[in-house]
Amino acid sequence: MTPVIELEGLGVRFGKRDILKGLTCSLSGRTIGLLGPNGAGKSTLINTLLGFHKPSSGTARIFGHDIRSKITHVRSVVGYMPENDAFIANMTAVAFVRLMGELSGLPSEAALERAHEALFYVGLGEARYRKVGTYSLGMKQLAKLAQAIVHGPKLIILDEPTNGLDPPARQRMVRMIKEMRDAHDVHIVLCSHLLRDVEETCEEVLILKEGRIVHYSNLEEERRANRRFVEMEPIGDTAGLALALEGLGCECAFSGGQRLKAVLSEGIEIRDIYRLAAERDIQLRRLNYRRDTLEDIFLKAMETN
């Protein structure tokens, strides 16, 4: 399968400052999260992928198309929702989204039809004849999303889509991203400071710091791997339980008093732990999967680099 985004020693320089430094990776997930502190180069990377900045070294490919030589084609398959305010103030939302659809190549009637659909889809159906300049911040975010999806792109780049949204609106936006990801043949790149948004929606995460990739994580694989890592709080012969688990091939370790951590070996399920505990008359007060949150991953990446 052709990767969604391939970076090959991608470097971007503004004047004498290196903003992106030799980024190399291949991303194929349906939703790709871009994380990093302020000034890490996330927006520059997005802008470079869209052809707004010229790479000073290396290159990037989107769906196999080189951004240096095929930028027009790349742009035709991408929908972009910028971070900052971006709209045409004296236009109604439907005219605005229609214009963007037409500029993407849709014939006028098709653009109008899809503008209505996109605005209903993002939840602006009732306000679609209002001028975009009169919208609240949250509504402007939704209008930006509508213009990004009006032409049905294969890749949607969302730059801080939940910025300035109140909690219900944020929830709605996250739900919409998940729905687009799950129900359709579309890939999403999500650039956000909010780790929770990225964790909820993304399969792959790329963490940038000072223009370099400091961590790549396939959250889906990690989630699957972490399902084997349990933490429990037994009351009774804890050491005996640990020995029994080790006898089944699990790795065990004590942490903080009675707490026991175990990495389950292949074929061992949770019910086996309960069975062993019952055989030894041990109470299990608490048992849960322990996995690294995205915050743990992010902080670790920041510390180690």
Partner: protein
């Protein structure tokens, strides 16, 4: 699909050719311009001059009116190069004032609201963006400059006969060429200034200010240095010199025609340079 289904779906229909997409901006820009009643009224007023000229040309050839006024045909209006130079001067001036009002509406709002990334993240280039906006101005200003000019030429040809038309055929090309150069220059100046001054009203004032300042400065330079260098700084002088040559009329502007052409090209080039610096998805702070 009905809107009530409210679902995201990919688009698989036909696409418009890429080369034609600049015209979408022209269409939207023209629609937007005529929403203003003031501009619509101003635009209609611009047809007053051509209408008067049209009536004048008709009367000039109406034997009963001439007999009534006890005058000869060429004593009312003499339709020649001088007439068309004056006509273009009048309509060109109106076109300039109209451009000062509508020019800044084309680019400044997009810049002020950060809309440029939305245009350029599509398969739509910066040149197409400028061309689309420029075409809107070109269409509008054409309707008050060379289109009525050529209509007047046609009426005079019809009334005076084919011989007159053949003899004065250079006037027709002069009307068209002179108007197009003037439209291009004032449109580019208005667009370049509106790209640099994002506030629409300030940009309009700037367009007027720059033109008047350049004219004043040019005249001052001419006066102080007792030379003709100041004419090169005055767009009005440059275009008058070029148009006078196109119509074969004498003019007090004593600069060579080719240098006037070069001056106009340099001014247009400067405007394009200013536009290329500002019309971009993101400004990079180096």
């Amino acid at each position: 699909m009905a809107v009530y289904k409210r679902s995201y779906r990919a688009y698989s229909g036909r696409l418009t050719p890429e080369w034609s997409r600049f015209y979408i901006l022209t269409r939207y820009a023209l629609g937007n311009l005529f929403r203003s009643k003031f501009l619509t009224a101003a635009f209609v007023m611009c047809f007053f001059g051509p209408l008067v000229c049209m009536v004048g040309i008709y009367l000039n050839h109406n034997a009963s009116v001439l007999a009534l006024l006890h005058t000869r045909a060429d004593q009312i209006i003499n339709v020649n190069g001088k007439f068309f130079l004056g006509f273009l001067g009048m309509q060109g001036g109106l076109a300039f004032f109209l451009t000062a009002f509508i020019g800044p509406n084309t680019i400044a709002p997009d810049l002020a609201n950060g809309a440029l990334p939305l245009y350029f993240c599509r398969s739509f280039s910066r040149a197409e963006y400028v061309l689309g906006k420029l075409c809107a101005l070109f269409y509008l200003l054409s309707l008050i400059t060379w289109v009525p000019g050529l209509i007047l030429f046609g009426i005079e040809s019809n009334l005076s006969g084919v011989a007159w038309m053949w003899e004065n055929r250079s006037l027709a090309s002069g009307i068209f060429l002179g108007s197009v150069i003037w439209i291009l220059m004032i449109s580019l100046i208005a667009m370049a200034l509106s790209a640099w001054v994002k506030w629409r009203i300030a940009a309009g004032a700037m367009v007027l200010g720059v033109m008047f300042f350049l004219s004043g400065f040019g005249a001052a330079v001419n006066g102080v240095l007792r030379s003709n260098i100041g004419h090169y700084m005055t767009p009005g002088s440059l275009i008058t010199r070029v148009c006078a040559d196109l119509f074969g009329v004498e003019t007090p502007i004593e600069i060579s025609v080719w240098s006037a052409w070069v001056g106009l090209l340099v001014m247009c080039g400067l405007c394009v340079l200013l536009l290329s610096r500002k019309v971009r998805a993101f400004e990079v702070v180096r």
